[in-house]
Structure formats: structure tokens, C-alpha cells
């Protein structure tokens, strides 16, 4: 069996946990992300597995690129393969959600309404199953990549339809979901590639256009060779909010400030100032020409000004985090948000909505509010030097970026703003690079 050696960096954030896999040359071959929050050990297992799954897809791509007969169709083929793969994973989780729901409804307190609740759950899950293919079709715009968000949105919608005030109250159905989703999230899906790759491949080939189907035998061989590979993890370094709880020894842990500095420097060599807005930390970091941190500031223990602020607002509106920024960009007249506290801003949002104010205008105000707090942090850390790199999950939000651009222009003049679509993985990339350095030095962490 052939072996591919990889190095892993894991960034245990408060909202999401990220992993980056590098090959021996330092090239990124896989990334993984999960929103599992209730258990860091499980979360790091899940992302590790995710990054390795993605690495395998990447290795399939490499194999196809190297084969003159297969190169040129790899994007189309792998895109479809990944969608089918994700759909199978989703269905598997849905199945375990369903059994967790029924298990929860078995509790003695629901005995009187047992049949009605079970019926409602059956109907809800039926609707949820029917909606799955839609989430994974080629043109689908998913509001989130996470099972929890997709399932919650479908569930709540169906629950409103199938609940009734006497025997299967909406409230009870919501409570059952909240308990069941934790069970699902805490189950780490093991050996996903090994289990799902073959059926996903069959599914892909069954509906594939002629140019792909014509090369079936070679494609099968390519996928199979990657499936039987051993991915050997040479070293692993952890960082992030939950790093102290990481299930590995101290030598394998680096502070997230160092990792973000190094990660940002690696992505954009000219970086001097880094703003990282993560789930519950906002960091303003100054780095020198080698990616070494020279000064930094962090926010207080308050969600206002962090990513969770937007996450909370998205939850509040039953929106996915992906949708929030785009909606805010439609604003024509941004609203000034009075509340600082996240929970109060959520209540203010509801009040403003019920007064008939427009969703995009309110959202634009909320995005500006979080950026204003970031600006004061940046000022305290020593201002914004050229080039300025924005990382963390919030950097993926176009409205946040545009609010930041406006404020930077206003306060500091022209600065080159670097943003990578993979900015959420900056910390994990830094960690993986530390792992690679250690491996090169001959003492793999």
C-alpha cells in the first residue's frame, strides 16, 4: 500500500474548528471545518478526518491532472463526486438525527402525546429527506455548509407545519431538535472516504455526461487508488481558543496569535497589520517582515465585535452565515444600531423589523457596528500599516469587508487590503507550518 505523508494544523475556534493538511513540500492539500462546539476532542477528530477526506479528493485531482486522458475534466468530475459524497454524508447524519429525535420523544413526560409527537417527527423527517437532493444539486446555493444549519432550517419550517397546539407543540418539537442535534454533532463519522467514495462514484457516473462516462474505467481506478492510500500524519500542531483542551501534548500547541501572524505572512508576504475576527476573539496583530508578531490587542470577553455577534444575528433571523453579508449589501440606507450587547442588538433587530424597517438596512448597521469595534482595537495595537490583511471567518463576509474598507479609507487613507477566500483557515495554516518546520528539523511533533 502506498503512503502519502501529511502535516496537520488544527485551529480550535470557539465557533468552528478548522484543519489544514500540508504535504511534505508545504503545499496545502486539504482543509476541514466543523461547527461542532460541544466537545473539542470530537471537533478535532472531525476536522482531522475532514481535512484528510479533502486531501484524498485533492490527490484524485493530482492523479487526473497527471494523466493526459483525464486532465481537463477534473473540475467537472470532482465537483460532482464531492456533491454526491456530501449528500451521502448528510443523509447518514439525517438518519442518526431521526433516531435521536425519536429516542428523545420516548421520554415519559411525552407519554400522553406519544403518538402525535412521533407522527409529527415522522412527517418532519420525511420532508427533510425530500429536501436533501435540492441542497446538493449542482446549482444549489446552500445557506451553510454545516449539517446543523441546514437541518435546523428544514426542521423548523416543517415543525411549524406539523405542530399543533394540543398534542405536538411547536415548543416541544424545537426542544427535541436542540437535544437531538447535539447527539448527531458529537458522533465523529469515521473513515468517511472509505465508506462513501465508492457509492458516490457510482452515483456520479450514473448521470455523468458522455465525456466522463467514456473514461469510466480510468476514473474508477484513480478513485480506487486514492481510496486505498494510507495518509500518514507525520506531525500535528494545534492552536486556537480551545487549544488547552486539545487532546495532544504541550509541545504540539502554539498560540493563535503566532499562528495567525505566520499564516497571514505566508498567504501575503507583504503583510504588516493583521485583523482577525473569529468567533469570539477579535485580534489586531502587527507583524514584521518575517511574520513575527511585534504587538497585538485582543477584545474583552464580550461577543459584541466578534463573529459570534453576526452568528447570533443570523440565528435570530433563521439565516445562514453565508447569506447575511450579501443581504446587507443590498442596503440603501444603513441604520444606526443603538445596542452594544449582542443579545440586545438581537432584540433591537426584532423591534426594528416589526416597525417595518428593511432587513438589509438593519443588517448593514449591524455590520458597521462590529467593524467600529474592530477599528478601536486596531488603533490600540498601533494602527494600520501597509499591507493590511483581514483574516478569520468574518473576512468571508462581503458586507463586513466593505464596511471595513470604508472605515480604513476614512481613518488611515489608502491601504492595500488582502483577503483570501481561505482566510478562515489562516490560523490552522500557521499551525500546520509550525508542524512542518518541526518535521523538517527532524523532531516531528
Amino acid at each position: 500500500m502506498s503512503v502519502v505523508e501529511v502535516l496537520l494544523g488544527i485551529d480550535l475556534g470557539s465557533t468552528t474548528t478548522k484543519a489544514v493538511a500540508l504535504d511534505r513540500t508545504g503545499r496545502v492539500i486539504g482543509r476541514g471545518i466543523t461547527n461542532t462546539r460541544s466537545n473539542y476532542e470530537v471537533a478535532s477528530q472531525i476536522v482531522r478526518e475532514e481535512a484528510l477526506v479533502q486531501s484524498r479528493f485533492e490527490l484524485v485531482r493530482h492523479a487526473m491532472e497527471a494523466d493526459p486522458e483525464l486532465s481537463g475534466i477534473e473540475n467537472k468530475f470532482i465537483g460532482s463526486l464531492v456533491r454526491n459524497f456530501r449528500q451521502r454524508q448528510h443523509l447518514e447524519q439525517l438518519e442518526s438525527l431521526e433516531s435521536a429525535l425519536h429516542h428523545g420523544a420516548d421520554a415519559p413526560r411525552y407519554a400522553a402525546q406519544y403518538d402525535s409527537i412521533q407522527d409529527a417527527l415522522n412527517n418532519i423527517c420525511q420532508v427533510m429527506r425530500l429536501r436533501v437532493p435540492g441542497h446538493f444539486s449542482e446549482l444549489a446555493v446552500r445557506k451553510s455548509d454545516f449539517f446543523r444549519d441546514l437541518a435546523a432550517a428544514d426542521y423548523m419550517q416543517a415543525a411549524e407545519q406539523f405542530s399543533n397546539p394540543k398534542h405536538a407543540r411547536f415548543d416541544v418539537l424545537c426542544g427535541l431538535f436542540d437535544a437531538a442535534i447535539l447527539v448527531v454533532e458529537n458522533a465523529a463519522g469515521d473513515r468517511a472516504f472509505e465508506r462513501h467514495a465508492a457509492p458516490a462514484l457510482d452515483q456520479t457516473l450514473a448521470v455523468a455526461p458522455a465525456d466522463i462516462r467514456g473514461r469510466e474505467a480510468k476514473l474508477r481506478a484513480a478513485v480506487e487508488s486514492v481510496r486505498s492510500l494510507e495518509l500518514r500524519v507525520l506531525g500535528m500542531v494545534g492552536t486556537g481558543y480551545g487549544r488547552q483542551r486539545l487532546p495532544f501534548p504541550k509541545e504540539q500547541i502554539r498560540s493563535e496569535i503566532l499562528c495567525h501572524g505566520l499564516g497571514a505572512h505566508t498567504m501575503f508576504a507583504g503583510t504588516r497589520t493583521v485583523l482577525d475576527i473569529g468567533g469570539q476573539d477579535t485580534k489586531a496583530i502587527q507583524v514584521d517582515g518575517n511574520g513575527i508578531v511585534t504587538s497585538f490587542q485582543m477584545n474583552d470577553r464580550c461577543a459584541a465585535g466578534c463573529g459570534r455577534y453576526l452568528g447570533y444575528i443570523a440565528d435570530e433571523m433563521n439565516l445562514g452565515l453565508h447569506e447575511l453579508g450579501n443581504l446587507a449589501l443590498e442596503s440603501t440606507c444603513s441604520v444606526k444600531i443603538n445596542s452594544t450587547c449582542t443579545v440586545f442588538a438581537g432584540a433591537e433587530l426584532r423591534d426594528r423589523l416589526s416597525l417595518g424597517q428593511k432587513v438589509p438596512d438593519i443588517l448593514a448597521g449591524l455590520h458597521r457596528a462590529i467593524m467600529l469595534r474592530a477599528m478601536s482595537l486596531l488603533a490600540r495595537s498601533g494602527g494600520i500599516s501597509d499591507e493590511f490583511t483581514f483574516t478569520g471567518g468574518v473576512a468571508r463576509n462581503p458586507a463586513a469587508v466593505s464596511a471595513l474598507q470604508g472605515l480604513v479609507q476614512q481613518n488611515y487613507g489608502v491601504r492595500k487590503l488582502n483577503i483570501s477566500p481561505e482566510s478562515i483557515y489562516t490560523g490552522a495554516l500557521g499551525a500546520a507550518l509550525f508542524a512542518q518546520r518541526a518535521a523538517e528539523a527532524g523532531n516531528a511533533p
Binding site: 462546539r37 466537545n39 470577553r301
Partner: protein, 287 residues
């Protein structure tokens, strides 16, 4: 308007208390002398549904429960965030309704602590339920009802289990006041450190109770303190408040009533009936 209800007869009045997390409904039969019988109480959690619809449907449920037709209700009063009760006749400020409801449910009440989803308010009241002094929590949701609701969700437990679980605590985990949103991570950390859900909840209850005793002290409250608002139903929080008061040796006694969470709605109904009578008398005089 109900023309039959002249002064001298008892009238039906409804109170609708719109909170940020639940809407509470009360229907009461109020006699001329102000004595009242509660006919129906109903609590509807909003859970991100359309508020106007929740209010309308909840009101219909309470009418049904009381066996009353809408046209028989002489006065519909709103309180709390009542702007969306478009079928109301009048609105009363939350503090006055909670004071009125608390004194009605628990005669002898000298102070009220209203603990809702976003704010906690402490009021000192007289025997006619007039508010003599008050103090509210600040613009941060740490230690609010919403905070507790979030924690329950992160722990995957139903809100009604929070109180009983908290009462089972053996060694409560001390928590300082933490951000209501970031509490999620703190809770997760506590869980992963192997602390039981009971001890986590009790620790949070005690930290919340500490804030409330501070509020009550600051307005010079003493004697019987009635807990109202959504969190009055949380037996764990009530116990924690008792313990705190004991510990700090304050001359107060915590009291709750099974219908405490409806104090605002009941108070609104009672004030509504009162206003209806005053208005009716005036029209009679004019006529």
C-alpha cells in the same frame, strides 16, 4: 365597546404581556370593588415566529380557555412591548402592571423583582401597588433570562428542566458574570471539565441571584419580595435567590406564586378594568 357593562356590574378584562421571548395572556373578571377572579392564563413562547400571529392566536386560545367571546371583553390592555397588539384599547407600562399583578397574587408584597428575558427590574411598592422606587439592570444581557435560555440550549435541556436540575446541585460551579453569547463556550468548557449540568446551572443561578440582591438592596427593599416575569417559574433561581438573601443576611423573604409569570398580564387586565370604569363613569356624567 361593551355597552352593557355599567359601573356596579363585574366586567371582563384581558391583559397581554408581550415579552421579548414569550407572550403572556390573562383574562379576568373584575368586580366593582376591584376584587377579581382570573378566568384564564396562557403563555406562548415566541421562538422566532411572527409576533403578530403569536399574539392573535394566543389571545384566541385564552378566550377559548375562559369560554368567553371576544365581544364580551370590555377592555384589552397590553403591557411590555405591546405596540404589536393592534387590537388593544390601552397600554400600561411594564413596571406598574408587574407591581399590580404581584400585589394581587401575593398580598403583603413590599418589593417586586421582575426577571424577564432581557432585563431584571427591582421595584419597591406600597400596599396599593404604587411603585415607590426602582432599579434596572444595565445594557448587557449577562445574567438575563435570555442568557439562561441560551445556556439551556447549549446543554441540550428543556427550559422547564433547568430549575429542578439546579436544585440537585451538590457543589455549584462558581461563575463570574459572563457574556450571554460567549457563555456557550464557557459552558462547553465546564462540560468538558466534567462538571455536572446541575452544578453548572446552580452556579449560574447563584451568580444571577447575586445581581438581583444587589438591585434589591440599591432600592432599599425589605420584607416580602415577589418574583415575577418569566423566570419566576424557575424554581432553581428562586432557591438561589433565597440562599443569597440568607447568606447576605438581608431582611427579605422571597415569595412566588404558581401564576407569578403572569403577573404583568394580570396587572394589565386589572389596570385595564380600572381604566374602563373610570372612562365609563366619565361618559355617564357627560351623558
Amino acid at each position: 365597546m361593551n355597552v352593557k357593562s355599567k359601573s356596579g356590574e363585574s366586567i371582563l378584562a384581558a391583559g397581554i404581556d408581550v415579552g421579548s421571548s414569550a407572550v403572556k395572556f390573562a383574562l379576568a373578571n373584575v368586580a366593582e370593588d376591584g376584587s377579581a377572579t382570573v378566568l384564564a392564563l396562557h403563555n406562548e413562547r415566541i421562538r422566532r415566529r411572527d409576533l403578530r400571529k403569536v399574539i392573535r392566536e394566543g389571545y384566541d386560545v385564552s378566550l377559548q380557555a375562559a369560554g368567553v367571546r371576544q365581544s364580551e371583553v370590555a377592555y384589552i390592555a397590553s403591557t411590555g412591548e405591546g405596540e404589536l397588539v393592534d387590537f388593544r384599547r390601552g397600554h400600561f407600562y411594564g413596571m406598574t402592571t408587574h407591581a399590580r399583578g404581584a400585589v394581587f397574587l401575593l398580598p403583603g408584597t413590599a418589593a417586586v423583582i421582575d426577571i424577564g428575558a432581557l432585563h431584571a427590574r427591582a421595584m419597591r411598592v406600597d400596599e396599593r401597588s404604587r411603585v415607590m422606587a426602582y432599579r434596572m439592570t444595565s445594557q448587557c444581557a449577562s445574567g438575563s433570562g435570555q442568557f439562561l435560555e441560551n445556556v439551556a440550549r447549549y446543554l441540550g435541556i428543556m427550559l422547564e428542566d433547568v430549575g429542578p436540575l439546579s436544585c440537585e446541585a451538590k457543589t455549584p460551579e462558581a461563575v463570574s458574570s459572563i457574556c450571554a453569547v460567549l457563555a456557550e463556550t464557557d459552558v462547553i468548557n465546564m462540560v468538558s471539565r466534567g462538571i455536572s449540568r446541575s452544578d453548572i446551572l446552580k452556579g449560574i443561578h447563584l451568580s444571577m441571584a447575586g445581581r438581583y440582591t444587589k438591585l434589591l438592596r440599591s432600592i432599599g427593599a425589605s420584607g416580602d419580595v415577589a418574583i415575577t416575569g418569566g423566570l419566576a417559574a424557575d424554581i432553581g433561581l428562586c432557591r438561589a435567590l433565597e440562599e443569597k438573601i440568607d447568606e447576605e443576611k438581608i431582611a427579605m423573604r422571597v415569595r412566588t406564586h404558581p401564576d407569578s409569570i403572569y403577573a404583568g398580564a394580570i396587572g394589565a387586565a386589572l389596570w385595564g378594568a380600572y381604566r374602563h370604569r373610570v372612562l365609563a363613569r366619565r361618559t355617564e356624567v357627560v351623558a
